[in-house]
Subunit: 251 residues, 2 copies
């Protein structure tokens, strides 16, 4: 346990665009012997690894992917082998990335790790759609939740979130969007509350669907997507200059 010479970094890969990696993440990826990555990490990011680096996809897809305890064993073994390991996760490792659990599992094996935050899709995906998650007079808080969870565990108090009055951002919740909308409506949120769903934000495949909350269940939203719920979801501040220019020139 005291002869560990490897280096393990739990690294956030950000929302997709390699330009949105942190400087430190880009450097660690370029230096890594092994990159152990999730399914959501984009090809552009993985392309920064050395040509001779080993890339291991442990991505969790519904019904597939590598079990969490096997990932933990793999990381510990790589560290003992003296490898420079980057454990690369979409977004940020500590925002629904199970980075905390992996750090604890490594610690139990006597292995320390470095944590490098990444830009969470909960903020970057809305931004890519021109949506500020907070805006004076519209939203005084932003709550990040995940739609994907184990049976019966960590129930989200949607009624309380509906009452809190701020922006809600749902990660990994496309399949559960009907239940989530129903729970928020039952909790008192207005049926007309704007929703925006951003599919593959910051990549070439980016696609945005906007609808009122009451229509979310029936809306065609492709997975993976980040869903923004609240008055800010009606905004697109980056397109506004062009919109205003057009309206000026047409009058």
């Amino acid at each position: 346990m005291n002869n560990v010479h490897g280096h393990i970094a739990l690294v956030g890969a950000g929302p997709g665009d390699p330009d949105l990696l942190t400087v430190r993440a880009a450097r660690l990826i370029a230096e890594a012997d092994v990159v152990v990555h999730d399914a959501l990490v984009g090809d552009g990011v993985l392309a920064l690894a050395r040509a001779d680096a080993e890339l291991i996809d442990v991505g969790k897809r519904p019904g597939h992917g590598v079990a969490q305890d096997l990932i933990n064993v793999l990381l510990a073994q790589l560290a003992r082998d003296g490898k420079r390991v980057v454990r690369l996760k979409g977004g940020d490792p500590f925002v629904f990335g199970r980075g905390g659990e992996e750090a604890v599992a490594l610690a139990q094996e006597g292995i320390a790790c470095e944590v490098v935050p990444g830009i969470t899709s909960a903020v970057a995906a809305p931004a890519a759609a021109g949506i500020p998650v907070t805006y004076r007079g519209l939203s005084a808080s932003v709550t990040i939740v995940t739609g994907h969870r184990s049976h019966g565990e960590d129930p989200v108090n949607w009624a309380a979130l509906a009452q809190a009055g701020g922006t809600i951002v749902v990660l990994m919740g496309v399949a559960q969007r009907g239940e989530i909308a129903a729970a928020l409506l039952a909790g008192g949120m207005s049926p007309g509350t704007p929703v925006a769903a951003i599919h593959r934000a910051t990549t070439d495949g980016q696609d945005i669907v906007r609808c009122p909350l009451v229509e979310l269940a029936a809306a065609e939203v492709r997975s993976p997507a980040t869903m923004v719920i609240g008055p800010v979801a009606a905004l697109d501040v980056t397109a506004l200059a062009q919109v205003l220019k057009n309206s000026t020139s047409s009058t």
Copy 2:
């Protein structure tokens, strides 16, 4: 209005450490003619600007700083002058950074801007203290709020947040920590709920104070700090390997 040749980017500077800038942010700063920055942006980040770049500090400190509408006028003028402008904000421009308002003000002048997200301190400051803001079984959501707000505007429903049961991260709330703790306790949050306050996260001056919620008002917390409230605030997953190693060798 149609002869704007400048380029304005609203850029997140991240939590402090220049290594936690995004690749794109670092490049834009290095290329900028003018960097218009807030007080919270660190010297290490500003040092990346060209030696001949103009640095303008419009930082808002209590009772000081440049009024928001003057900042908007300044940015529009710089863009019309054809400058490459980086408007640099601590953390992320859309998470309590007023980036949305600045984008709207520029749009009203016919000026489009690019938005480059940054690592919000709401996630990176806890991470620097070894605290994952979400953790299976401990926290199924994270809500980001600010303690600093204009009189009577955007009231936060602290009782609803206390009921929601997830992690709460408070930015810019050191001076208001007594009122915030009282509101959460009145809303039903347990007095023993762990709190961690991280001062100047990811910089050389980083300092961490931990206490139960009921003691937050009296705790010595220096501003600026990011405050984490919830069961995860008791964790330090990055120090755990050493703690476990020591406990093993002493038995």
